[in-house]
Amino acid sequence: MKQIALYGKGGIGKSTTSANLSAALSGRGISVMQIGCDPKRDSTRMLMQGRFIPTVMDLVRERGNEGVSLSDVVFTGYNGVRCVEAGGPEPGVGCAGRGIIATFQLLEKFGALEGDVIVYDVLGDVVCGGFAMPMREGYAQEIYLVTSGELMSLYAANNICKAVQRLSSRVKSKCRLAGVICNAKGQPREEELVTEFARRVNSAMVKYIPRDHIVQEAEVNRQTVIEYRPDSVQADHYRSLAERIMENTRLTIPTPLEIDELESLAREFF
């Protein structure tokens, strides 16, 4: 079983990329599960015809741990992709990080973490230990950074490299950096910049996904691009991403950059 996680700055397109990746993987006849690890709970929406599915934490809150079963939390979406949303507390109260930990413990208890590929779609920044949970305990073994060529986005990706580096140094850790996905904003020399960034953090860019209006069009229609326009060029990009991820064997311990280094890199390609 391949367990991959997508991390990156908030708003960079992790959920869109994850949902299209899951949809593309399912098209290869692969059993896929996507787990949204964000209290906003909108990771799997495009796989569920725009439906916000009940979250694990909502169900636990209403019924307690004992009142929740596997079938309550796993929903089958587009082309058989199994969808789970961890959920979390209302904004501004409680501890969302602990919510992620509790969700993983429950999914583990249910034996829900099975199939050919699990895609974890995680909240923007690794703000606390809870959001590093998918990287620990041998869950997500392959970490993909989603970034554009914008400095703030690279900065967030670099920060996540720090978390991966720290976690991968643990003896039993299976967590490694698997690559960088460039979800382009459309700025000049963006592909070159992200390729160089990936090289400098001891990884590689696995796929450049150009900006295309069709992504927004598909979302307005509550679908992934794969479902909405399977014949489009953009759908080909996501299928190509799926193929490269399935073939990728280059797993590394990242070497995060100092902030000065990162800034001068961004300047070089400006």
């Binding site: 507390p89 109260v93 409680g94 969302a96 602990r98 509790a102």
Partner: protein, 362 residues
């Protein structure tokens, strides 16, 4: 064998902020203390208080309620659990409710003060006690006393004396309390309020009525300062240690109250002589005195310094006592090892001498 038979190096100044505050609030009889946190935070405190009550021959269960937070409350926030626990407590016949926070609720950011500000029909007083923010046992105690001072209004003077911050968890708390009352009575003074030892909520309104505050130990100086500012009451920073410490305490109190204390001092002096004479069987035995100081950080915090000074006074008082009894004190650790604890007043000194006698005749 323990090389450190006395627990001074375990530094009770560290410890749990929550326990410090509970040692105060649990001594206000007609109130309830709500501990906002997991069950365990109140359980070990309840056990401790219960054991001390039993030791004191009082079969009173401490009035503690826990919000008993579980993982679900940690994830979704514990404010609702706090609200319903306060409502439950308010339904009992209580004069006030104290709400003490714990490490975990301040970690997840529960707004304890906001929940306490709602209407429950009885006063609800929040006391911040999350220990991980750097507080100690002493801070918990001081925070609780300062919070209580905050609800007391100015009131007409009674001419009595307040005892501030009696150590309700020390096993001689009652004896020490009685001894200070006795010393005050020598000057014709009485205790206005035990702030706080075995009192009621309404009695706390007498806080501002005293002519003088006597602190149990110098670690309570921040509380003494707050009360001085709020009510203009002067304070003496410590209960007295040992023989001459007791005599000078009587002089200091007399001076602070504008009383002639000479007769009281002479009378106490005679009492001390008679008491010492009763222990003449101990004379001329070579002894060593335990003179360990509390462990403190490289740069000690204010309350740690205060505790060291307090301990130094105890050791000095023991040294004086040994000299009066003509006990040769060896500095190289030879001789019978005698315990040096807090000997409050003449009575506390006598109790320590009984312990010395047991050690010497063992």
């Amino acid at each position: 064998m323990s090389l450190n038979p006395l627990p001074v190096n375990s530094s009770r100044l560290g410890g749990c902020t929550l326990t410090g505050a509970i040692s105060v609030t649990s001594h206000i009889r007609d109130t309830v203390t709500v501990v906002h946190g997991p069950k365990g935070c109140s359980h070990h405190n309840a056990s401790l208080l219960h054991a001390i009550c039993l030791d004191d021959d009082r079969m009173v269960m401490p009035s503690l309620i826990s919000t008993a937070l579980g993982e679900s409350e940690i994830i979704f926030g514990g404010e609702e659990a706090l609200r319903s626990t306060i409502r439950h407590a308010a339904g009992r016949d209580v004069s006030a409710i104290f709400v003490l926070s714990t490490c975990i609720v301040d970690t997840i950011g529960d707004d304890t003060c906001w929940i306490c500000a709602e209407e429950y029909g009885v006063p609800v007083i929040p006391i911040p006690t999350a220990g991980f923010l750097g507080g100690s046992f002493q801070d918990g105690m001081n925070n609780a006393l300062i919070a209580l001072a905050g609800i007391a209004e100015p009131c007409p003077a009674t001419g009595g004396i307040n005892l501030i911050g009696e150590m309700n968890l020390e096993y001689e708390v009652r004896e020490n309390s009685a001894e200070i009352s006795r010393l005050l009575s020598l000057l014709g003074l009485n205790v206005n309020l035990h702030f706080v030892h075995d009192t009621t909520f309404s009695q706390l309104s007498l806080l501002g009525a005293a002519r003088l505050n006597i602190l149990r130990s110098p670690s309570l100086v921040p509380v003494g300062e707050v009360l001085k500012e709020q009510f203009g009451t002067p304070y003496i920073p410590s209960f007295p240690h040992g023989l001459s410490g007791t005599l000078s305490f009587i002089r200091t109190v007399a001076g602070a109250c504008g009383i002639d204390g000479q007769e009281a001092v002479s009378g106490e002096c005679v009492r001390q002589e008679e008491m010492i004479a009763g222990f003449s069987d101990l004379s001329n035995k070579p002894v060593s005195l335990d003179h360990t100081l509390p462990c403190v950080k490289e740069i000690p915090a204010t309350e740690e310094l205060a505790a060291v000074l307090d301990r130094v006074e105890e050791i000095q008082a023991a040294g004086e006592l040994a000299a009066r009894l003509r006990l040769p004190v060896s500095s190289d650790g030879n001789g019978i090892s005698l315990p040096v604890g807090s000997a409050i007043g003449t009575a506390g000194t006598r109790r320590m001498l009984h312990r010395w006698r047991r050690a010497i005749h063992a």
